[in-house]
Amino acid sequence: MGYAEFSLSGSKSLLMSKISSINDFVIKFANVNGSGSASANQTFAKGVFRSGIPVSPKNIFPSNIQGLPTWFEVRVNEKGYLGRREGIDIAVAMNPQSYRQDVADLKQGGYLIYDSSWKRDFGRDDINIIEIPLTKLCVQEFSNPKQRLLFKNLGYVGLLASILEMDKEIYIVLIEEQFKGKEKLIEPNVKALNIGYKYAEDNFKEFCEIKVKNSNKTEGLILTSGNDAAGLGCVYGGATVCAWYPITPSTSLAESFDKYSEKFRVEVGTDKNKYAFIQAEDELAAMGMTIGANWNGARAFTATSGPGVSLMSEFIGLAYFAEVPAVLFNVQRGGPSTGMPTRTQQSDLLSCAYASHGDTKHIMLIPSDPKECFEFAVEAFDLAERYQTPVIVLLDLDLGMNDWSSKEFQWNDLKEYDRGKVLSKEDLDEIEEFGRYLDVDGDGVPYRTYPGTHPQKGAYFTRGTSHDEYARYTEDGAKNAEVLSRLTKKFQTASSTVPAPIFNQEASTSSIGVIYFGSTDCSMQEALDNLKDQNIDIDAMRIRSFPFNLEVWEFIEEHDLLFIIEQNRDGQMRTLLMAEGGIIPDKLVSILCFDGQPITASFITNKINAHISGIPSVAAS
């Protein structure tokens, strides 16, 4: 599997075994929540990224502000495999509370770094221990008690730079960038870095056989999170109103919109804002504001997670039935109920696809990396206005909150927003009769007007009660059925313009296919390569949207057996495919990971292997 091989240095015994590898390892930081470690860990990851090697840092944090254990895992992989990988090669154990677990997670031959101001015996003789008395060193060097604590973090970053043989200068530059404008802080931070660096140079020169070697594999890549990217996408997509209610893991998406709006959306001359950012009193209000603003012709969105979607459901149904555009980001976390607020899952697929009572269906976009989060945010507004309906963009905690080595963002300056079928005053002057819900073009999409457009024409009454083509209340069942059928037609029209699936197959020769979506992408890529190495060829399709395009059905048709990889318990994508396409259940085999950790390539590979080893014709040859 290519990573982390053993070498027996000396030849004495297993005691001396060391994992050795270049640009391919997993390092895990164990810290106390609220101790300021997050920024140092981030700095470490960014330093590796700047050395030209893709990284995937993952914050594994408790639902707590201060005191509980927290972890930060960084996978470094030159090939660009960015999914989580099991097994820890280097553990930076800074939290005695979690020593036991951290030491147990470490692979044979791995390296344990800990604060030896208080010495410990960890009871494992198959790992390599790197002792550094960080607390003592910081007490010696700093007088301010806060600094003494905080700078332990950069101390171990310095140590890592040394033992991994990295260019220390990269970290000094990173520190300088971080404290731009607060120059006074640069000197003590660099000093902290040097404390660890020097200690390692003096005591652990050439001890560690895992190395970081400069490379060029990050050309064209950026390091950012899905939430940050989606918030930026909303700015580029022309959103002007964001109404939201704080909830992990979506909060940073709304905050990203605010951050970029403060930068790009302040009117020259007046200093007034070309956006409104409203923290609502709850998710119901957030959705109501989003709908009100969209109804009135502004592009508006909200960001939430599963519990928020549950609260918004009544409103989502109103927007669907009254045909008001609305964009909603659902950054999924572990459910059901309050569930695991700081862990990841893809378990809101069904609750979003059919959100609200009655017959409702919603457009969903499912990005797989930050670049796509940016693009789908823009796309969501176009689709919502084109089809006058809610569009739900589904991220998950892993994609939303963690930094990913993603392709750069791109923008075409010629792009015009698609505002959909909106009648201007001039349009209204020309037409004889306006009916808000008349299917004039036969595509199921009617024309709408903004309030205040025309003195005599175009006014209508938006309502969630049954209505006719002219938006008038009706209790005529046949009329209502007509409207419902038109909404189905509209949804079908949308299926040809929502983002098509991505295929991962040079020639579709296999009778086996795999279907996956969202943040699973990175682990899937690696799993497919692993399977290929074992001579198992599988065609792969990444679904990116709902309603499903024709190509989705064709792919399913063309294969005898399909694995569906999901990060939920119930195989929700499988259910959705069965419900929408009438697919025979036996054909669709679920591979499900729902422990709240991002799915790994080996999990997928093992499950697929286990299944097909029972099928003689496709077993590994």
Binding site: K274, G288, P455, A459
Partner: protein, 351 residues
């Protein structure tokens, strides 16, 4: 219920306003509410106020929740866009709409069930955010549409039509609105058009959150003689603070008040709210005395009506959030999209 369009034939002698429009031009569809329902009188007071103010209907957005009261927007201002949203959530829809385009006039219509129970959270936050709108609660102390359950504004001593006791004290929305920072708070009575129309006109002219609690008897479920929201009860117990008169910009005060007995409140658009005091210590710009007088009349089994509180200088939500004077819904990609050059810089900053 079906939708009935009113025939429109203007009598040549019908009075016309500054826009050359008649009252008929401000009407809506034929009401499907019970004959005698207070809500219908409020609709006609709204028609009257808008007619007198020469408002352009198409520049008005009417929003409501769910209930008999929330149906009312269909029965006035035919040329305005309307939005009958979901139960108790009109405030958030209105907030979003007002953010999208501050140039329209927002008229929110709600019921006491809609605003004092299911939607009380949204009512509270809409008031404290100072959304620039006129927010009307057509208060009948009951859930009309679901057939007569007690609402949270029904007084403790007010029995149901069937003789059931009301077990819980009532919520007084105007007191709440004052405490929450609403900058215009009044109580009216659907049966007193002389008071209601000037109050509505002033509420509409006021910039910021104008709240009107209008007692509006439900003839079908809450108009019996043990009800405190019946026509008879309100007529007997009405404790009017002042006789309001609304004077648009450039018009002269015509009412003849005795010296020292009137108060004039200039509104932000230059119009004037002139009030003939009915009680000595009435000062509509003093929050504390407003709340005190509401509580005193409650103690004395009376219902205070009239303008309770006004702060003509308060900031509205748009100003608080420092939102552009160009409506957000009128901005295009040129105003909103930072473009590829900036994106390259962002890419660089994420290396």
């Amino acid at each position: 219920m079906t939708y009935i369009v009113k025939p429109k034939n203007h009598h040549p002698l019908l009075e016309r306003n500054e826009l050359g429009l008649t009252r008929r031009d401000y009407e809506g569809a034929v009401s499907t509410l019970c004959a005698g329902c207070g809500h219908d009188s409020i609709s006609s007071a709204i028609v009257e106020a808008c007619f007198q103010l020469s408002i352009e209907s198409y520049k008005v957005a009417k929003l409501s929740g769910i209930g008999c009261s929330s149906k009312a927007p269909a029965y006035f201002l035919n040329q305005s866009h309307g939005f009958n949203s979901v139960h108790g959530r009109m405030p958030s829809v209105a907030t979003g709409a007002a953010m999208a385009n501050h140039e329209l006039l927002y008229l929110g219509v709600s019921g006491d069930g809609d605003s004092a129970s299911i939607g009380i959270g949204q009512f509270i936050h809409c008031a404290r955010r100072q959304v620039n709108m006129t927010y009307i609660v057509e208060n009948n102390g009951t859930y009309g549409l679901t057939k007569g359950q007690f609402s949270a504004t029904n007084d403790l001593e007010s029995k149901s039509k069937y003789g059931d006791d009301n077990l819980f004290p009532s919520i007084d929305l105007p007191s709440m609105a004052i405490q929450l920072g609403a900058s215009f708070v009044a109580r009216g009575f659907s049966g007193d058009k002389d008071q209601l129309v000037p109050l509505l006109k002033a509420a509409i002219a006021h910039k910021g959150f104008s709240f009107l609690d209008i007692i509006s008897p439900c003839v079908t479920f809450n108009n019996h003689n043990t009800s405190t929201k019946s026509y008879d009860y309100i007529r007997e117990h009405n404790d009017s603070l002042a006789k309001p008169d609304f004077v648009p910009l450039g018009k002269e005060i015509t009412a003849n008040y005795e010296e020292g007995s009137s108060i004039e409140v200039p509104l932000h658009d230059g119009s004037l709210l002139s009030l003939e005091k009915l009680s000595e210590d009435y000062d509509p710009q003093d929050k504390i005395s407003a709340i005190k007088s509401i509580q005193e009349s409650q103690r004395d089994n009376k219902v205070t009506t009239g303008l309770l509180y006004v702060n003509p200088d308060a900031k509205d939500l748009k100003e608080i959030l420092n939102v552009s004077d160009t409506p957000l819904n009128a901005m295009g990609s040129k105003d909103l999209c930072p473009g590829s050059e900036e994106l390259s810089k962002i890419n660089l900053s994420l290396k």
